[in-house]
Symmetry: C2
Subunit: 204 residues, 2 copies
DNA sequence: TGACATACATACCAATCGGTAGGTATAACA
DNA sequence: TGTTATACCTACCGATTGGTATGTATGTCA
């Protein structure tokens, strides 16, 4: 028998508190500059507790990617796309919704996945593999949606869904990154509109 | 009178050695993780010399952006574009040339300007302003080239050169970032081809 | 030739870093 | 009830960080 519910539920709560605080600290400062001490001080968790759940800082970072970021991308960019029949309309709606919901802090900090990709890919292979797994999930999901769209005759037949997926994910990340550097919602919207124009050009 | 040539020339040499080593260290690890000690050990420069030319680490980082990165972008992405009559053909050539000349280390480390943009924009406003100045130069240069192209009837009249410039810079950075995460030249080329296709769609 | 500034060089410093050792309190289980 | 594992907690550690204080060698200039 495993431990009773009372205990293991509390465990997960503490673990989740640490994970969430780590996510925010990493999002704001990057992984390498993220301070364990800061994560502890923003919560009332002690160092012993943190190192009980995560043997190293690296493991904590990995968990943020595997559990939080993968889930975020899945929920926002993949699931609604796969449900829809028309991937072009669906993606346009997702982009517009994302633009509307975005906060000043988000503009300032950009995409948490791309942040980790750019910072950690050359530095730590474990990070790179995990981040790339999320990107691949994103690209494959997008590719599938556009294949479906082609089957339904809603997307041009003479384009390669795989290439479209790569281009879309890349330019979305580029768009967010540009807005982050310029700290400008205008640039975000102008770039988003260009992506939407590109999408409309794929109509079949 | 200023100091004689012998002296001030040597000065600039030492300064340039520091700047170059700093560039490489920052390119490989990011600014915050870049180690002054490492920069000194890869050169035979002492800490006294470094802090003689650059009062703080931040000033050293600023100089890398202002002097090295601005120059790189200008030489590779702006000058050849402004010389040409046809911006679309010119940019295609630049993209193809960049793809051919890129090394494994470059794939691994990505774009030094985008790296600093994503890492430092939320953390230090001085960095953000300097990086954004380079991006703006890049965008404005691209915009001018496309305006010229419109005047010569080589670019569609019903597109906004400013939006095109934003979209191009953003998707180029996104493309390099995606290839860096995937550590894949294939992805770089596929994404680059999509950008070229986009460019061809702008023909007037 | 003497005064002064430039261009380094060396030794040191406080602060912060991630991580660990060793304890305790609690709950599960035999 | 005694044993054992889980879930913490506190105090400490060595290493590294950017930065500084002090000294010196050299070249400039009046």
């Amino acid at each position: 028998m495993q431990s009773a519910s009372t205990n293991s539920e509390q465990n997960l709560v503490t673990r989740q508190i640490i994970l969430q605080a780590a996510y925010e600290e990493i999002y704001a400062r990057g992984f390498q500059a993220a301070s364990i001490a800061k994560i502890l001080s923003t919560t009332d968790v002690t160092k012993g507790a943190l190192y009980h759940y995560f043997p190293t800082k690296l493991d904590l970072g990995y968990a943020v990617v595997d559990e939080l970021l993968a889930e975020q991308i899945q929920a926002r960019w993949i699931e609604p796309l796969l449900i829809a029949d028309d991937p072009i309309s669906a993606l346009k709606e997702i982009i517009i919704a994302a633009g509307q919901e975005i906060s000043e802090e988000d503009i300032q900090c950009g995409c948490p996945l791309n942040n980790l990709a750019q910072e950690m890919s050359p530095v730590d292979e474990g990070f790179r593999l995990r981040v790339e797994a999320v990107y691949k999930m994103w690209r494959v999901g997008t590719e599938e949606a556009f294949k479906q769209g082609q089957r339904h005759g809603l997307v041009k037949q003479n384009v390669d869904p795989k290439n479209i997926a790569i281009m879309l994910v890349a330019s979305l990340e580029g768009c967010i990154g540009m807005a982050k550097s310029a700290q400008s919602k205008n640039i975000l919207y102008q770039c988003g509109q260009s992506i939407i124009d590109y999408l409309d050009g794929l109509r079949g």
